[in-house]
Amino acid sequence: MQLFQYAVINGILFGLFFGLIGIGLNLLFGVMRLVNLAHGDLIVLGGYLAYSLSTIAHINPLWAIPLSIPLALVLGFLLYQVTVPRLKRAADTETASLIVFFGVSQVLEAAATMMYGANQVTLPSLGGPIDLFGQLYPSSVVLSAGLSIPALGVLYAYLYKTRLGLSTRAVMADEHEAIASGVRVRFVATTAFMIGIAFAAIAGTLSVYMLGGINPTTGSALTVTAFTVIIIGSLGNPLGTAVGGLLVGLASSLTQAYATEWTGMVPYVLLLLVVLLKPSGLFGGKVRRA
């Protein structure tokens, strides 16, 4: 029973993090129909920023979170201007974006290798283990998961409590109708793109703790996990992404505890089941129209 409790709590902690890594990707896809294959590499970029702050500047790596947000917003703006308008003019935006962002992914991976080498990099623990319901969890994991909650909350508030969020949801629901209603789609898309990259940067700092370390190729696996999460939860639905993350986290953790050899497969079995049984994702039928 103790192991079950540990696995469930651990699954929730990791699930919150998985939700965070998926949310930025979902925002980009929901608003612009862009398949951002560089999402995981952008997360890793955030991780390397935290690593640099810790090893070069000798300051707490968590400062990377507030520092990375403005940097990510600027990077997001520049990346948007360079890529998205051209992609939107392509006959098949999704396919074109897949290829372009694959290129971006490779460039980021190569740049990270040149700058940091191929070895895994890690960060020192943020403190001793934390007692949750009588069992000890790494403080960095608890803190990382804890920070994911307000981050997801901020995005929820943006989408559902602000005018710009309303416009964003309008574009997610139907871009043409949004244009007809006077929504400034390009402004909405630029903002969503920047926010998506900012969320990747936040997740990046936490990823070094959650994954035990990062290396230049960690991004590819994170991209796949992020896609898994958003497809399970349903595309374009932030709440679905959070739930998708929790499901993947719980499935992984419980499998580790009770069917260890299946650990690598279960999240993808879950993905296949969702795609086959409910192709719109678990929350696909509950997407609110703007």
Partner: protein, 428 residues
């Protein structure tokens, strides 16, 4: 929206698969490729991984091989018996970026496009596996540096594969089992990664223990890509083990040890394979206090072998390979260099320039060749049987630790033992 979501969900699954395909294609790009070998050089084809999960180990191995080629060429080349003269060595290398599928293509490319004289495999069993198949199918001599998966050597005599650095992985844990027996441990937990290298070790040690009437209290495999060990550590802890063997690649070992540190989990005995091969990396990524008292396999430079009849002894190698930076030299640097020495010995005693003629050179020196890794001896399957690994423990020393040999693999290694095991490991 629902139709759209349905279409795009399926589309994205396809996209993800396309991503994997694109990734595989992209890693196929050649780096450092050379044209066909010229008549005045002996071309040695190899692969290395500059990125990916095996880069940590592959790059030093490649550096060791390059150092060998540079050393040989500085002396006018290596002696090639069938030609009765020295020839310069040329390394033809491609970057497989830790991807076995890419490695398959590139190993083939080394043979069909570059027409290399012999091949040296990339690091480890995962990236060596494609080369084993190609070597057998195309009757091409392969110097397998560290691919010690038991399955590579389980199909009878094979003259085309020569394991240069390590015994097959199933042999590795034998001294560990004996050490556990001597420590009177009864409850052993084994967590392994699902690849040839680790799985063979796990199965072997399970067998050794069963012979002593001990059934592991925990015996589970995880994907080699595993990075989250939190629930796994708790599962192991629940079995109340006397000893824990975590059998993985460097990233697995590091993640596992970091999980122990982060959760304050203490086991009486912990063994990880790669601490002995990459001690500097472990100090940096895990920290000396966590590494202290853990066990590993002892390899050079922890094992100091200076009595050699080919190439440099260990001390001289360290001095020349990394002048002034002795602590940065690791086993994989040595392994790459040692593979070069095996190639050198093969050509020096080859009976012809055919693949079997070059292999005959290995037969000629088999059991007689002494290198910085010890006695070089392979059996008819190509399996290395001369270089068995003792067990070492990271003994606290000042603010760090030193690896001390605590249990020998052979009676002749008893003189190398320089510490007694600290068991149970003290609580940190």
């Amino acid at each position: 929206m629902n139709d759209f979501a349905k279409r795009t969900s399926i589309g994205l699954v396809a996209s993800s698969m396309a991503f994997a395909g694109l990734a595989a294609l992209s890693t196929g790009s050649a780096m450092g490729a050379s044209p066909k070998s010229s008549s005045n050089t002996i071309s040695v084809g190899t692969l290395y991984a500059s990125t990916g999960s095996f880069a940590t180990s592959s790059l030093p191995e490649y550096a060791g091989l390059q150092f060998w080629a540079k050393s040989v060429n500085a002396h006018g080349g290596m002696y090639v018996a069938p030609l009765k003269k020295k020839e310069k060595v040329k390394i033809v290398a491609y970057n497989d970026q830790s991807d076995p599928a890419t490695a398959t293509t590139l190993y083939n490319q080394l043979l069909t496009q570059n027409h290399v004289n012999v091949m040296v495999a990339d690091f480890g069993s995962v990236l060596t596996a494609p080369a084993i198949t190609i070597a057998k199918d195309q009757k091409q001599l392969l110097f397998d540096v560290t691919g010690s998966g038991t399955s590579f050597f389980s199909n009878g005599a094979n003259p085309y594969v020569v394991l240069t650095s390590l015994p097959v992985s199933a042999v590795w844990p034998k001294p560990v089992a004996k050490l556990l027996e001597s420590l009177k441990t009864k409850r052993v937990a084994i967590l392994y990664c699902q690849n040839d290298f680790d799985q063979a070790q796990a199965t072997a040690i399970q067998g050794f223990l069963k012979q002593k009437g001990i059934t592991p209290v925990y015996f589970q495999g995880v994907p080699t890509t595993q990075s989250d060990y939190s629930t796994l550590v708790q599962s192991i802890k629940a079995t109340n083990p006397d000893a824990v063997l975590e059998l993985g690649y460097p990233n697995n070992d590091i993640a596992f040890l970091n999980e122990l540190k982060a959760t304050g989990t203490h086991f009486k005995f912990v063994l990880t394979p790669f601490l002995g091969q990459l001690p500097t990396l472990f100090s940096q990524d895990v920290g000396a206090s966590t590494v202290a008292n853990t066990y590993t396999y002892a390899v050079p430079p922890t094992l100091v072998i200076n009595k050699v009849n080919l190439g440099l002894g260990l001390t001289a190698f360290v001095h020349h390979f990394a002048p002034g930076k002795a602590s940065t030299v690791n086993f994989l640097d040595v392994a790459g260099y040692n593979a070069g020495l095996a190639v050198q010995a093969a050509f020096a005693h080859a009976t012809s320039m055919s693949q079997l003629g070059i292999r005959a050179g290995i037969t000629a020196v088999n059991g007689k060749l002494q290198t910085l890794e010890g006695t070089f001896k392979v059996d008819k399957t190509g399996e290395q049987v001369g270089e068995l690994l003792p067990v070492a423990q990271a003994v606290p020393h000042g603010n760090g630790y030193v690896l001390k040999i605590v249990y020998p693999a052979t009676p002749s290694q008893k003189t190398m033992v320089n510490a007694t095991p600290i068991y149970p490991a003290p609580t940190k």
